[in-house]
Symmetry: C2
Subunit: 366 residues, 2 copies
Amino acid sequence: MNLERLACLNDALLSAGLDALALNPSPSLVYLTGLHFHLMERPVVALFAAGQQPVIVLPELEMLKVEGLPVRAFPYGENPASWQAVFRRAVESLGLTGKRIGVEPRAMRLLEFGYLRAGAPEADFPDASQVVSRLRVRKDADEVAAMRKAVQIAQSALEATLPSIKVGMSEKEIAAELVIQLLRHGSQSEMPFAPIVSAGPNSANPHASPTDRKLQPGDLLVIDWGAAWEGYISDLTRTFAVGQVEAEYEKIHRIVQEANAAGRAAAKPGARCAEVDLAARAVIERAGYGPYFTHRTGHGIGMEGHEDPYMRADNEQILEPGMAFTVEPGIYLPGRNGVRIEDNVVITESGAECLSDLPRELRVVG
Amino acid sequence: MNLERLACLNDALLSAGLDALALNPSPSLVYLTGLHFHLMERPVVALFAAGQQPVIVLPELEMLKVEGLPVRAFPYGENPASWQAVFRRAVESLGLTGKRIGVEPRAMRLLEFGYLRAGAPEADFPDASQVVSRLRVRKDADEVAAMRKAVQIAQSALEATLPSIKVGMSEKEIAAELVIQLLRHGSQSEMPFAPIVSAGPNSANPHASPTDRKLQPGDLLVIDWGAAWEGYISDLTRTFAVGQVEAEYEKIHRIVQEANAAGRAAAKPGARCAEVDLAARAVIERAGYGPYFTHRTGHGIGMEGHEDPYMRADNEQILEPGMAFTVEPGIYLPGRNGVRIEDNVVITESGAECLSDLPRELRVVG
């Protein structure tokens, strides 16, 4: 339980006109309580009602996790037929019948919501994503320190992996070696995401999964990876040349490198998220590759790989100190090869700190 | 796209009186289509309407994943304001306005459901978990072969980890080494779950997460781990003695070993799930430790760590050939130590095959 954060939540609920917030196992639950639960067939829901002690509905066999915490637990047994009544008692204990209970649609499943709604049939369940996001979006010094460490782990793990990358290795083999190095260098074993290792035509797919395709001379090799440290993550991308590559591939790499620098340079307090996107995008458009930069320039990072703020051309959100996000422009030539270069940035009082400093020029591997 | 499985789904929808099934990124989506998507802030929903080609709503930047597949794609751009209209067009293209569209509450989030419901405001959305589960619950020979391989990887990874386990190592360090060995032995890098490594008093918590607590002489050490192979998983547990342990700990280990054997022996076609649970539970109750076996005896496994069928005392479901599940009785002495022994079993035409054969007696480590 983080009492300071719970106090901020209490204020935020009142300003948002909400009587309570309901969370299932999710990064927001960890942020407020430190409590980790697997998402499984047994529903777990925590209820934060303004001005009251938090309540949690959970399986009996998870009770040890909340022992001694300032939270009122409503445990249930193994038979699902008994669960609904427990949810109802939890809702009634907070006087939430007919009230406004905010939820996070991105995290809550119909499983938890079904029990919650049946427990509070006359309540409203507005989207409270922004209420929680506004608390989480400005990282404090401890959070930034954890992210800095997650970047350092990721960078040293990649450097340790590069010497073993050879022509003939498959994308999956490279990904497995990288994950091993991430663990050796201290990443938490629950990675933020499975690394993307994509080469040749696969590198033209921004969201590729590693395949059995073997590395070939002339490929571009995109590696998009991250580490986790104390619940905070890093999310980086570098693109490599497998031996000599086509002149156009070197060219698009230079353009993306310049776009990445322009995006980072636009990141400062008071700027709009759109400005970061447009700064990176302008470089690529000027070079004539606009149609091949098919995604936004970045997304927030912290406890999750994707969270507020989003660096999109239509996002007028103002950057504030403590906001952390990726800058990751790319150029993808369909059926051919692709490039992406991604860094992690935190807004400071006077500008921005780039947490990542791994070389960005086109390095040769294999 | 697995056309055979889609044909079975079509029949199942008709028998269940459903017009369609809606899936978000989930094991069931992979089962039917082979399509993997990250769960993120961009909603992805596939619609399977009886007798029609499947439809999928997805971000434009994921379009490569569905290229050439027999599925009609409705892509959307980066601006969320445009998404709702795309969902509506997808629903209307299948004539699903006002129809019965089944969903999986355990997988679908309010995020996807919100877009789906707004796209089909007059439709009903019944729980279709059982429709999909009945397809997935009987594993075919290829699925069993993948699970067998996932068990072999897990077993050899544990054997490779055991020699490095020493007094003074932390649970987290042991878990990190085990994950490295899982990858070295060929597990997919997206693990089914983070291993549980819990020793001493922590081993009395069935759902413990690894901590910084260092291994001490006299501890019981519970390791609950698994590997993934071609999308199928294993889920095993063994308990070890760190040097000499209390006589009672040796005793509860013998009881749990006997309970595990009794549970496995009760697994055969035609038996009820409850019988497997009760067979294991009876051994522990007869020995006077009934109150310390605080969870069900097992859960189904396949593409997920927890799925049908569940080995619970109140589950009358009949075991059929191809059903796969864990047998994992335990005894947990609060504040002291705990034991769990878990194997993976598949029902055959004549009995059951135990996929795991790692020694179950109390081995000494450290």
